[in-house]
């Protein structure tokens, strides 16, 4: 008796795995087709190249810019406590020797080091914010769209409130009451970023739940949660994915902006927005090099290079998002 039951359960397991494989098959086929389409789109390729290079830089940071032996936290940029020096000037031996490839900044922080390790900060911040915002938006949007009625009304009025304040200003207000740190910038960005996702997912769920296959699932007696998260949500993901890709860039843009107006981490932390703000302080002035009697330089290098990296980061994800949209849009697909 017990054996027979076990056997039945075992069989059942095998059949669910088979079912899973079967149900995944068309998805894998579509994925292959998407990859094929992506290879044909120049913009998407350029986007992928930029994104992958930045990710590589972030991963290889300890190799590209090894922290000096006495550093306790690699995210803190090593500094020589001297006035800014132009690119190509010699770097002290205790910071690794060689030259400052991109010059040195306020208090003599190594701009090159900041750029390399700043890639980590940007990727970490943007992924963290976007993933959590999407998760919140997905669950709330799906529930609002699927159940409708009072829940829907309540959730949508809440998103209305968040959407009625310009996002940067809302983020400013949130970070202002918390203390100034990268973590609080991230928290503020999550607070402002989930409502649009809730809207998108709700809209998708509303249109998808009228489809025949949802009705079919209901007819064979599938539970509500199963219908929602197995049939409806997976089919509503493609606009979310496109928005996510683009938002990764925009999050970095807004985070850098907040950091620029003074909400960010302290000056020697590897974060691009903060580095640009440092350059703004030196914007009109000149620094002599060699100090103190050399010719004067306007230290453009403090803000130009981090600025360029922010631009590239955002551009890369925008290109990728644009490409993805063309690929995933069923109207343009075939």
């Amino acid at each position: 008796m017990a054996n027979a039951e076990k056997e039945a359960v075992g069989k059942n397991n095998i059949s669910t795995i088979g079912q899973l494989r079967k149900s995944l098959k068309p998805r894998i086929r579509e994925l292959r087709f998407s990859l094929f389409l992506m290879r044909k789109s120049l913009m998407a390729i350029v986007g992928i190249v930029i994104v992958l290079s930045l990710v590589t830089i972030a991963i290889l940071a300890p190799v590209l810019a090894p922290p000096p032996p006495n550093s306790r936290d690699p995210m803190i940029i090593p500094k020589d406590l001297e006035p800014p020096k132009p690119p190509g000037s010699p770097r002290p031996a205790d910071l690794g020797g060689g030259t400052y490839i991109f010059g040195s900044g306020v208090m003599g922080i190594d701009v090159y080091y900041g750029l390399i390790w700043g890639a980590r900060t940007s990727i970490y911040v943007s992924l963290y914010v976007v993933l959590i915002a999407v998760l919140i938006g997905l669950v709330l949007g799906a529930i609002a769209g699927f159940y409708g009625g009072k829940i829907d009304e309540l959730l949508m009025r809440i998103t209305d409130i968040f959407l009625s304040v310009p996002s940067l200003i809302l983020a400013m207000a949130v970070v202002a009451v918390l203390s100034r740190s990268l973590e609080n910038i991230m928290l503020a960005l999550i607070v402002i970023w989930w409502p649009p996702y809730a809207r998108i997912v709700r809209g998708q769920v509303l249109s998808i739940k009228e489809n025949t296959y949802v009705e079919a699932a209901r007819a064979v007696g599938a539970k509500k949660m199963r219908i929602l998260f197995r049939h409806i949500v997976p089919n509503s993901l493609s606009p979310v994915l496109v928005n996510m890709t683009m938002d990764i860039g925009v999050v970095v843009l807004v985070a850098a902006g907040l950091s620029f107006i003074g909400f960010g981490p302290p000056s020697d932390y590897a974060e691009w927005g903060k580095m640009v703000a440092d350059g703004h302080n030196y914007f009109l002035g000149t620094v002599p090099y060699p100090f103190p009697n050399g010719p004067d330089y306007n230290p453009y290098w403090i803000w130009v290079f981090p600025g360029l990296f922010i631009f590239l980061f955002v551009m890369g994800f925008n290109l990728l998002g644009d490409g993805l949209r063309d690929i995933l849009d069923p109207r343009l697909r075939r």
Partner: protein
Amino acid sequence: MRTRTFIIRRLLLLIPVLIGVSLFVFALTRISGNPAAAYIRENMSQEQIALIEEQFHVHDPIYIQYFYWFEGIVQGNWGYSKTSHIPVTDAIQTFFPATFELTLVSIGIAVVVGIALGTLSATKRNKPVDHATRLMALAGVSMPIFILALVLQNVFAYNLGWFPMIGREADYWHYVDKDITHYTGFLLVDSVLNLNWDRFSDAVWHIALPAVTLSFGTIAIITRIQRGSMLDVLNQDYVKTARSKGLPERVVIRKHARRNALIPTTTVVGLAFGGLLGGAVLTETIFAWPGLGLWSTSAISNNDWASIMGFTMISALIYVIVNLIVDVMYAYLDPRVRLE
């Protein structure tokens, strides 16, 4: 539904949204701790401290505090701005025209340039002009506004000296010319009303760089939308009809296609306005433009909650009203749209 009924209904619907915003803002002011603490200094006596605490009703339960606070908001008592040493509402009145002038000029630039570029790009689809425009639009949405501001300031003000570095008017006007009457608070308008052309050209000269900076991202957004909707419209039957009637291409584009393609673009202008208000914070900080944005960033460094929250509230108010205006315009432009 008639337009007037629609507007009234939408205005009524704004009330719950704004109450929601006020709840959120109130929650923020209380998360930061005792709201009275910001105004208490070391050398104050116990009585003075008690008086300040009394004003903020800190000893009452939180919902009572909210009602007192909300009553103040409705009656125009938005607190005292530590940064500018005047009540928050007065500060907003002082700084608002500068910001509004800047955003209006930049949205003007963005609409004109964006629509022209988008139309051009769609009519020359897949030609070099189109690729160049699309690339520029992409750069526009990817460019952090504060970096664009720094680049423009460095090139055109610092190195070439064509435009002033910072500010809204040349300093010497403060000393030389006090007889200009400020009717509207907009320098561009006031100088014309006073028939003071020196002031006018000075104001234009000062607003050029900040306005171009602020408009850049919006140009990109408008160009993209205009290009997309123009491409849609160009495939419509009535455009084919217009062409087959033998109308010159210029007339087909201008009168038949572009007008209809403008409709989706208007909605974007409203949404872009929120981005402009946010972008104004960064632009004003860099160009020392004496508006709400500069005021709020200095408020932040002073831990001046009342000002920050006032700024948040006023931004929300402007944003929802602008979007209401855009919705009404949308129905006016496209008679098929029913106001609901």
